[in-house]
């Protein structure tokens, strides 16, 4: 039997990225964020998620891309991993795809981009390429740097 996983797919710059759906708590329209002083530059601040204070990071800045003004499509993906709840600001997100594990190539083949560290593999869905993010690494690295 083929092993498949569902991924929440979002767009950042011109590329599509995927995060395993099991880590995703909710998907929100990007709302007001309170800046947290003295935090890393990619930490946008904290948002109020129905009474819960959730830190939000700007994934563009995290990956070293240039900043983009928020528009109608902007979304915050709220993840819950290892007891850490965190929001990721992305350009847009609107679909969930099911990708076979077989269709994911290991990241070892690609070794020269900014987001290197956080790539787990490249998934193929029809003719599209979905960059699968190493979510644990993303959250824990940020965490340590603080």
């Amino acid at each position: 039997m083929k092993k498949t996983n569902k991924y929440v797919v979002f767009k950042l710059k011109e590329e599509y990225y995927g995060i395993p759906i099991s880590y995703v708590k909710t998907l929100e329209k990007t709302t007001d964020i309170t800046r947290v002083p003295n935090a890393d530059n990619y930490v946008k601040g904290v948002m109020n998620l129905r009474g819960e204070v959730v830190p939000v990071i700007d994934l563009r800045l995290r990956f070293g891309f240039e900043k983009k003004e928020e528009d109608e499509d902007a979304r915050t993906i709220v993840l819950e991993i290892d007891d850490i709840v965190i929001g990721l600001n992305v350009d847009s997100s609107s679909e969930v795809l099911t990708i076979d594990d077989e269709d994911i190539d290991s990241a070892a083949k690609f070794t020269n981009s900014f987001e290197d560290d956080f790539i787990k593999g490249i998934g193929k869905f029809d003719d599209r390429m979905i960059i699968i993010i190493d979510t644990h690494k993303l959250v824990n690295t940020c965490h340590k740097e603080n």
């Binding site: 007001d32 309170t34 800046r35 947290v36 002083p37 003295n38 935090a39 930490v43 601040g45 904290v46 948002m47 109020n48 129905r50 009474g51 819960e52 204070v53 959730v54 830190p55 007891d83 850490i84 709840v85 965190i86 959250v139 940020c142 965490h143 603080n146």
Partner: protein, 685 residues
């Protein structure tokens, strides 16, 4: 069977029981004759024995069993409570606490089988007993009883029964050879008898009978009001009995004091106390009545409490916090007051949320008794160790505090009480020369005062010698020699709370290591409280601790810098003032201002938090709003752009991901749903 699921309950309940045993023992120490106390300890020991037995903790069960045996003797009036018995009981308590701790930390009770302690119990009881034995032997001799060997206690009971004109019978029962369940049959017999009479002796012991450790015969001595016919009629109804013999002890003196048996207790590992338990019918009846009465009173109480996981309460608290936030939001929407219906509804909502908040807070509250409970024992031990005579007076144990605070407050209080006993209170001989009562008093008082709880530790000892503190402070270069005289008394007392300061001339086991008071102060300040001292030389000292009711919800001042809102905890604010920009001077890169003839360091919130101050937009840009915050006796002025107002805020953590952000203590959600960060003013110092 998997016991793990019961382990938590066992630990929790054992701790509770030991705690109450501790309290009762202390009371008993002051009032040796109180039979209710003894019954209570007995009950506690019995409960623990049962629980430990079920869980398979044999050492615990064994020790409690010995305690029961000893207490049974006290209960029956065989021996009298004295200081050495209480000491032994305290030792047992310590040991039991150790066992429970081992179980909690390691999962088993360890290898210590407390043989020594059990020996000690027996020895103590016996020593006590011996004094009485001689006297009782004489009575026995006079009665000239023989044939059946019984303990001195049975003898005594029988004699007492005669005095009260009860009948005493020796009942021999032989079971039929066909009897399959001997223990059950014997149990029926004993049960029948117990309805009519008090069984004071059995051979073999009741335990052995229950375990079927007997052949076909067993003998019982009973004290009863009914005569032998009634008994024999009753017993004849029991099936599978071969024969019954009933002998009236008054007519036939068949008893013999078994002195050997009594003495054997000293070296015999397995006690036989159950065999020679003496029960005076009247006392037993009285005790039963009392126990029954107690049960009647205490039973409904049990039904009224529920054990709840603290996590669930936290969850409930979070939900209430959210409700408060949404309520404030509704109030904001309603602020124009155009629709009277909505206005009415929000007001009603306000009332409900307030009382809901109060109720949930109360659920999380625990009486300070939980902390206070351990002190009587501590004071007792310390007093003994130091050869001082001390009474501990406690007041307001029922005062309630949030659980989070309760868990933290124990340590500082221990420090203070030790301090009082060690440094404060004089030796009894000295007290007498000073014309003070020989017995010193340490007071521990708790009461609530508005939104805070006050705890006081007071003693009638020597007080604090300010001169000594001045000398010490100079010696340790905490102050300059010139400051020595100019320094006010209050400032001198504050020196006590400085790190590395200790006034004890001799360093004892307990205190005087110079870590005491500053640790206390740090701890209490970290709980959002404060501490002060009143002291009169020769009369005593009083330490006053003031603590917030809860750590989850605080009063805060909302301030604005640029467009950002920040909350400053109200209890760290000393005052708010305005100062002209021109008065702020820069000294060695730090801004200061001369305020009320003292230099006040100035920090700008905008600077700390890296925002552009929008002050330029304000008309009177020269007047700066300064919030003066304090930490201990230090103050700092913080420049803010604007004040928004005072508000009750719910503290929320920024979460693991943003842990350790400098100068930020947490966040809170405002009425409009936006988030304001809470400033950690302590980090500015």
């Amino acid at each position: 069977m998997d016991m793990n699921q019961y382990l938590d309950i066992f630990i929790e309940e054992s701790k509770e029981h030991l705690q109450s045993m501790n309290q009762i023992l202390l009371k008993l120490e002051n009032n040796h004759g109180d039979i209710d106390m003894i019954n209570e300890i007995f009950r506690v020991a019995h409960t623990i024995k049962g629980m430990a037995g079920t869980m398979g903790y044999t050492h615990t069960a064994h020790l409690t069993h010995e305690m029961e045996n000893a207490l049974q003797l006290v209960r029956s009036g065989e021996i009298e409570i004295n200081a050495s018995i209480i000491d032994v009981l305290f030792q047992c308590l310590d040991k039991l606490e150790k066992y429970v701790l081992e179980v909690e930390t390691k999962g088993n009770e360890g290898d210590d089988d407390s043989v020594g302690l059990i020996k000690l119990i027996k020895k103590t009881i016996h020593k006590n007993d011996e004094e009485n034995v001689n006297e009782k032997n004489e009575i026995a001799a006079a009665l000239n009883i023989d044939r059946i060997k019984v303990g001195i206690h049975v003898e005594n009971a029988v004699k007492k029964a005669w005095e009260k004109e009860y009948n005493t019978y020796l009942i021999g029962v032989e079971l039929s050879k066909k009897c399959m369940l001997k223990a059950a049959r014997a149990y029926i017999v004993i049960n029948e008898l117990e309805r009519l009479a008090e069984i004071i002796y059995s051979n073999p012991s009741i335990e052995d009978i229950e375990d079927e450790k007997f052949d076909l015969e067993f003998q019982l001595i009973v004290i009863t009001k009914v005569d032998e016919k009634v008994i024999s009629n009753k017993l004849k109804n029991v099936m599978e009995i071969e024969s019954i013999s009933i002998v009236d002890l008054k007519k036939n003196n068949v008893l013999q004091i078994d002195k050997v048996d009594d003495n054997s207790l000293d070296f015999d590992g397995d006690t036989k106390f159950t065999d020679d338990v003496n029960i005076d019918v009247n006392t037993v009846q009285n005790q039963r009545n009392k126990v029954d009465a107690e049960k009647k009173i205490s039973k409904p109480k049990i039904g009224k409490t529920v054990r709840v996981d603290i996590e669930r309460l936290d969850n409930l608290m979070n939900l209430v916090s959210e409700l408060i936030i949404i309520k404030t939001r509704l109030e904001d929407i309603d602020s124009d007051g155009t629709n009277p219906n909505i206005h009415e509804a929000t007001e009603y909502l306000e009332r409900i949320t307030t009382s809901l908040h109060d109720s949930v807070m109360k659920v999380r509250m625990v009486p300070v008794e939980r902390v206070f409970n351990r002190f009587p024992r501590m004071v007792r031990d310390l007093a003994k160790e130091l050869g001082k005579e001390i009474t501990l007076k406690m007041q307001g144990q029922e005062t309630e505090l949030d659980r989070t605070v309760i868990d933290e407050i124990g340590e500082p209080l221990i420090h203070l009480i030790r301090n009082s006993i060690d440094h404060g209170i004089e030796q009894p001989s000295l007290r007498v020369t000073l014309g003070k009562p020989k017995e010193a008093t340490v007071e521990l008082i708790a009461y609530s005062d508005g939104n805070s709880v006050v705890m006081e530790v007071a003693d009638d000892g020597a007080g604090i010698n300010l001169e000594t503190i001045r000398n010490k402070a100079v010696e340790r270069s905490l102050i300059l020699n010139e400051e020595r005289q100019t320094m006010g008394d209050e400032d001198v007392i504050k020196l006590l709370f400085n790190a590395g300061f200790s006034t004890a001339n001799e360093v004892s086991d307990l205190s005087g290591r110079g870590v005491g008071l500053d640790v206390v102060r740090t701890k209490i300040e970290s709980l959002g409280g404060n501490i002060e001292v009143n002291t009169t030389l020769g009369k005593g000292s009083r330490f006053i601790i003031r603590l917030p009711l809860t750590l989850a919800i605080i009063q805060a001042l909302l301030v604005k810098t640029s467009s950002e809102k920040y909350a400053i905890p109200l209890n760290s604010i000393k005052e708010i003032t305005s100062i002209n920009e021109s008065k702020i001077r820069e000294i060695q890169g730090n801004e200061v201002v001369l305020y009320r003839n003292e230099t006040l360091p100035i920090k700008r919130l905008a600077g700390i938090f890296n925002v552009e101050s929008e002050l330029a937009n304000y008309e009177n840009q020269d007047e700066k709003i300064i919030v003066i915050v304090k930490k201990g006796d230090k103050t700092i002025g913080i420049v803010v752009d604007d004040l928004i107002g005072q508000q009750e805020v719910v503290i929320k953590s920024l979460g693991k991901y943003l842990a350790n952000i400098k100068s930020i203590a947490g966040a809170t959600i405002l009425g409009n749903g936006s988030i304001a960060l809470i400033v950690d003013t302590n980090s500015f110092f």
